[in-house]
């Protein structure tokens, strides 16, 4: 993308444009503390479990700190030849081990339940938010991005919570406990051990800093690769049709090679960590042994203490290491949480309004409505239109003249900038949103079917409908026959995105779904564009009876679809340029007449 273009993108964000997330930038939380606090609020209801967890962890830590002490006494006993002491010491050891195991089990169970419940709640909250977001948000954000907050970010948080609560608590306690024990045994050796631990931490930090750089780059490349795969595979029909496969494979290979090169570097650094640690650990052993030996020769300490110190030094190094890792993980979890909360902080659809529509007749009125998707690019300009109850109104006009916008506004998918939209004289903002939508059925240009049975797809609009009603709706929408030919009739499962149906068949099904809703207002937005005109005519004829006393709004390019309409509204550049019945408009010989003539002469006018 050129410089110039990205500059434009900043102040004019294309709806749906996928702005590739730069992992490097977002990985570090912007407002870490605040997000942390919010994340912790999710733990709020789990206080009891949380304290139980903490108690269990404490016991485990105490146990693992105490055991080396007994181990050293055992070795001391052996060295001193006091073998009769041995069984007693070993019994104590076993008992401690047992307690530790039971508590480890408790810790595992509690943290598993805790983390899963929190994540479950977070997922539900997020989903609840997403389905209540205004359409505007969904139109303006790449779906892949919204998806990834649920799949990647929440998943990430889930894993980190479940994996780090235990280790974090035990890590901190362990460090404190070990330091206390070491100081207690021999302060001088304790200081020495600390030095080696600091060495470990230093090297870990150095390596992980280096690693981070490569890991970030790898993550970014991986994202690119995934996007490439997703795009090419979902668009496979076009790729095939245009012989683009070779080129796509070449591009893919390039990204894939880059990813591999970066991945190898990152992993090599990553896998060096172990051996490096090993060297340090052993070096620290030698240091402790040397000094310990020196102290033992001087008679300051027993050799049992040396053995205990070796265990402690190891015990000490591990949690420090782990905490460093956990810190990194928590950072990325917080960054993820930030992305999740970002959506949760979006404003939900404005669902205020208290009036219901039970007795509405379906009189629709647009009064001086102005609307624009982007500031400065008005779509509807001072738009006024009144539709009486039971009328069939058609909207025609060129692409971009604002036909679909009228639907968006009537359904309150978008809210108007100024003016009023009234149903039966009541501003739609005062009507309960679910009432408004329940009484208005729409069939959209892009059909949406769910990967479920035909029956459930039809009954989606009214789950309490009987099978008879459903079949009647299917018959009216001319899809009953087609459904009976399907392998399992109404129980046939429609595959995701309706791949086993033709576009026209999908449209018929969504029309059936809308009919079943038996709405007060019916909106068909290019609902039959892929349906042949004879089938369409059948539908229209059948509709006459069910749409009696109901208002319908039809948008279509095909004039045959709308000729029967009571009023045809011709839109031009966001304004109504003419209005009237088919005959009246033809007689006027203006825009509609021109449109009409094109349809049959096949020539541009």
């Amino acid at each position: 993308m050129s410089e110039n273009n990205s500059a434009q993108m900043n102040n004019y964000r294309l709806p749906g444009a996928r702005i590739r997330r730069q992992r490097g930038e977002t990985e570090k939380p912007e407002n870490g503390r605040k997000t942390m606090i919010r994340l912790f609020k999710y733990f709020g209801d789990e206080k009891l479990i949380f304290s139980g967890l903490f108690a269990a962890v404490s016991v485990v830590v105490v146990c693992s700190v105490a055991v080396p002490r007994f181990q050293s006494s055992a070795i001391d006993a052996i060295a001193a030849g006091e073998f009769s002491q041995l069984p007693k010491i070993l019994m104590y050891m076993m008992a401690i081990y047992l307690i530790s195991c039971i508590c480890t089990f408790l810790q595992n169970m509690l943290s598993a339940g805790l983390s899963q419940r929190i994540v479950q709640r977070m997922r539900n909250d997020l989903f609840d938010k997403i389905i209540n977001l205004p359409i505007k948000y969904i139109d303006n954000h790449p779906h892949g991005d919204i998806m990834s907050r649920m799949t990647n970010d929440v998943e990430n948080i889930s894993q980190i919570i479940s994996q780090s609560i235990g280790p974090m608590a035990s890590g901190i306690l362990m460090i404190v406990g070990t330091v206390v024990m070491m100081l207690n045994l021999c302060p001088r050796l304790a200081v020495l051990s600390c030095i080696t631990v600091i060495m470990t931490v230093g090297i870990t930090k150095l390596l992980s800093k280096l690693m981070r750089k490569f890991y970030l780059k790898r993550q970014q490349l991986l994202g690119e690769l995934n996007a490439e795969v997703e795009e090419m595979i979902t668009g496979y029909k076009t790729v095939t049709a245009y012989n683009y496969g070779e080129q796509a494979a070449k591009d893919f290979a390039e990204t894939s090679d880059d990813l591999t090169a970066t991945g190898i570097l990152a992993e090599i650094i990553g896998s060096s960590m172990g051996p490096c640690m090993n060297v340090i650990n052993n070096a620290s052993f030698v240091i402790i042994a040397a000094f310990g030996g020196y102290f033992a020769i001087k008679g300051y300490i027993s050799i049992g203490i040396i053995s205990a110190f070796i265990v402690y030094a190891k015990q000490f190094g591990r949690p420090v290491d782990e905490l460093a890792q956990i810190y990194g993980q928590i950072q990325s979890a917080v960054a993820g949480a930030e992305r999740v909360f970002e959506i949760m902080d979006e404003e939900s659809e404005d669902k205020r309004g208290s009036l219901d529509m039970d007795n509405a007749k379906g009189i629709i009125e647009f009064r001086n409505v102005n609307f624009s998707y982007y500031e400065g690019k008005p779509i509807l300009k001072n738009f006024s239109l009144k539709v009486s109850a039971g009328q069939k109104v058609a909207l025609v006009g060129a692409t971009g003249s604002g036909k679909t916008t009228v639907v968006n506004l009537l359904m309150r998918f978008y809210d108007i900038d100024s003016g009023e939209i009234l149903i039966d004289g009541v501003n739609i903002k005062d009507i309960r949103l679910d009432e408004l939508r329940k009484n208005t059925a729409i069939v959209l240009q892009d059909t949406v079917l769910f990967s479920d049975t035909v029956r459930n797809n039809l009954k989606y609009s009214r789950s309490d409908a009987s099978d008879e009603e459903m079949i009647r709706a299917a018959k009216i929408s001319n899809c009953h026959n087609m459904i009976t030919y399907m392998p399992h009739g109404y129980d046939t499962v429609i595959s995701r995105s309706g791949q086993n149906l033709s576009q026209g068949q999908c449209q018929l099904l969504s029309i059936g779904r809308a009919f079943l809703a038996s709405p007060k207002i019916l909106i068909l937005d290019e609902a039959t564009s892929s349906v042949d005109t004879r089938t369409e005519k059948n539908i229209q004829d059948a509709m006459v009876s069910i749409m009696k006393d109901r208002t319908s709004l039809i948008i279509a390019h095909r004039l045959s679809t709308i000729q029967d309409a009571d009023i045809i509204v011709v839109l031009h550049n966001g304004r109504i340029s003419e209005m009237g019945s088919h005959k009246e408009l033809l007689a006027k010989k203006e825009r509609y007449y021109d449109l009409y003539m094109t349809q049959f002469s096949g020539k541009a006018t």
């Binding site: 749906g16 076009t238 050799i303 020539k603």
Partner: protein, 577 residues
Amino acid sequence: MFKYLKKYYIFCILAPLLMFGEVYMDLLQPKLMKIIVDEGVLGLSDGGGGNLGIVFSVGLKMVLFVCIGGFCGILSGVFANLCSQNFGNDIRKDCFRKTLGFSFEQTDKFSTGSIITRITNDITQLQNLVTQCIRGFVRTGLIIIGGIICLLTLDLSFGIVIICALPVILGCVIFFIAKSAPIFGTLQKKLDGLNGVMQENISGARVVKAYVKEKHELGRFSEANKDLVDTQLRVLTLFAYMSPIMNIFLNSAVVAVIYLGGISVRGGGITPGAVMAAVTYITQILNAVMRMNMIFQTVSRGMASAERINEILDTEPSIADGDFDGATDIKGTVEFRNVSFGYGSSTILKNINLTINKGETVAVLGATGSGKTSLASLIPRFYDADSGQIFVDGVDVKAYKLSALRSKISVVLQKSELFNTTIEENILLGKSGASHGEVEAAAETAQAKEFIERRAGGYKSLAAEKGMSLSGGQRQRIAISRGIIKNAEILILDDSTSALDLCTEAAFYKSLNAKYPDTTKIIIAQRIASVKNADRIVILDEGRIDACGTHAELLETNEIYQDIYNSQLKGNIGEAV
């Protein structure tokens, strides 16, 4: 799958060998440690006086060994990664290439979502499997075997501990793996389920809202969520049991070693330092066994992924490439000879016979589900006919190289798929390397020039994911531009002007005919206006050709056509003519 590894066999051998060096050095340490404690600190051999000299000299040796071991370890990591990642890269590229060669039917069968996960997620799992095998597996195996040998050389009585503990721990490992493996499979499925609900809700947001189904959807989601969480809890519970149980065995073994060591020391068999070394060894061995558990998890996940990838790699494209390079004298003819076709058990096209001549414009009309799109899909071999033959330029389509055949044909699909890049690049997909002038010319013919230039950024503006920012008609026109720029012998427009208003559509056809008079055009449409000027109009009815003729002829003779015509004209024929 092994053939991919073969290429990197040197790394495959070097990595474990170096690992052997690392482990060997690791195993030497407790022995040296023993010397340091026994000789250096306790001075057992010279009667109780410690010897710091020994501590330092042996200590230095130990650090040196560790450094050598570390070096081996790092190199082993280098080779293991070179092997596994290059291996993964090769498979990934092959998989991607392979899937692009699949027929539509095969892609549908796998489902695009599944293919995407396989190429991305599963390959990563497979890579981990290889790394684990040549590194983790070898390392832990060596530690276990070496550790046992070392332990036994210290004192044979420790063997009893090993004999008792090892089978128990191994048994535990096997038990937990057997228990967890199937749950992992379920977990993946539940996750797919959750993502599915999410996906449907985002892309179908308008419908969900329009039918006020938010509560219903939330319920559906909560259910999928609960399913997922329950499965995840099952895994976690299993592991919650696993680690303490394994630990208790491990700890018992440590206690046993100390006890037996005590007995041996009393009997004068070994030194206290040896007991310490033994404790270290036994901990090392049993830790390794526990780590085996983690490795097996990766392995069992990796194996599942390997299978999924193999499914892709082993699938032969059902549309096989021919040899013919496409150099024909005739350019732009299509012939269907007794063609029948269906998806699965249902027949869509029945015994189709149709010849389309060079430069002709043939329109296809018919009811929803009558097989129009299927008919068009057979020409570029998106699907293969069940019986009968199709000829392009007089040659059977099956004889062509696919790329040669498809370069003769340009299809504008019913659903306009735009890619997430600039409008210009989307158009260029039809002919890579075309000049900007060509792009503009194509856009102009497709009646897209005007709105593209009006956009901020013009041709360089993003078409955006799923073309969300463009209206249906605009998307179609970009897709048409792409089809036109290809300038193929045969142009198929599969209901690709349905969202255009009539003026725009008419202008498009006029311009198309003027600029590309020699191109054979096959037009699938619903509107009479779209097809009226075609040289011939084919009426499809329930998979059969009902009639074929010009507008005038059909209007005269064909009932279906009259019916369609009337449905679009209603009662106003008089006024229209």
